[in-house]
Symmetry: C5
Subunit: 100 residues, 5 copies
Amino acid sequence: MQIAKVIGTVVGNQKEPSLRGSKFLLVRFVDENGEDISNGYEVAIDAVGAGVSEWVLVSRGSAARQIEGNEKRPSDAAIVAIIDTISVENRLIYSKRDHY
Amino acid sequence: MQIAKVIGTVVGNQKEPSLRGSKFLLVRFVDENGEDISNGYEVAIDAVGAGVSEWVLVSRGSAARQIEGNEKRPSDAAIVAIIDTISVENRLIYSKRDHY
Amino acid sequence: MQIAKVIGTVVGNQKEPSLRGSKFLLVRFVDENGEDISNGYEVAIDAVGAGVSEWVLVSRGSAARQIEGNEKRPSDAAIVAIIDTISVENRLIYSKRDHY
Amino acid sequence: MQIAKVIGTVVGNQKEPSLRGSKFLLVRFVDENGEDISNGYEVAIDAVGAGVSEWVLVSRGSAARQIEGNEKRPSDAAIVAIIDTISVENRLIYSKRDHY
Amino acid sequence: MQIAKVIGTVVGNQKEPSLRGSKFLLVRFVDENGEDISNGYEVAIDAVGAGVSEWVLVSRGSAARQIEGNEKRPSDAAIVAIIDTISVENRLIYSKRDHY
């Protein structure tokens, strides 16, 4: 999975029928230090109720369909967790609590 | 999914039999600000009736076969939605209405 | 799918048994303007009788196995169509007829 | 598979239900000489009891679900082995013993 | 598939149980002219008895499991052929015979 920040939303009413009811979130990938990766973004289906500015884990590829209700959807990216903390070599590089 | 602009068409009459009847659209990927990504393009099967100059969502990999009629086609990219709006941090970076 | 030019062949007699009888073509990827992409190549199984110098569409990943006879082959790339024309914004950037 | 160093952990309590009980490790990819690859990281599910600072093999894509208990989890990366030695052209470029 | 040179081996005794008995080879990818691609390597399971210094074809993704005995292994890369010759536009850019 990749670490990403939810930065926005994408709306499209004319879509593949199985995608009706899906919420498309725009996420920007960050590196293992929390810095933005240029051109690194994805439009992902939200599986956990994530909101703008939250840090999340994104699964891509066929993994995005291993979610109840998404098994037959033509989606290649899904938000599968909201991140609470990221620790690198005993250093806390992100804590959700500090952001709210 | 990635955000892309439909920029053209690809025609090939000699193709894998299961691809007969498929429409191949040429799409150019854009980043989360709507700027072109160099070398970022795909030839995708259209699942939603998209036209040249429209902004769309493209799914790649096995997701491209999760569309009625495409289950057994050797395609690795599909247009799964026509985008109406893209919002980043409460800023509208794209609105289909403004383009027509 | 990506656009590619067939530029050569790869021969290997010692191979995974299910690949016997497969023809491996070397293809170089081009961008949406027909220019070579550096380091962009693939060794693909030919599903349509393509020849050197022809422009083709290449599917990668599990899509490469959605071809009769290839379902169980350990191949991650296949040529699925020979391109006749590529049009970008009403400009013909490639026509097979002009190349022969 | 790619070679990676375990550098940290990611914790998220609000996640896709099937991921409950999974341990997310942050791994940084290294090249074939053991040097860090910039921006090359993954959050992977641990299948072998790896710890911080160990060198491991990471499988990505659908391979990450070929592990007992992970078959239905929306994960696209897994640690599948702890590396003891890496030898390149008869030169030992990594030995776990030398690190402990 | 990608063209690669076998350059070494990776050994790991603590691994996902289904990987027991697998041989992990370190391969470096080369471009279509036989030149090294920087950072382009993979640790692949050997399906054809390849040895160090041989040139091989590597399949990645789910294709790596389309090999007898590997169907359930969490591997995302496999050596599927040993290359005898590579020809580009009637020029022989590699011949195994010339290397031995």
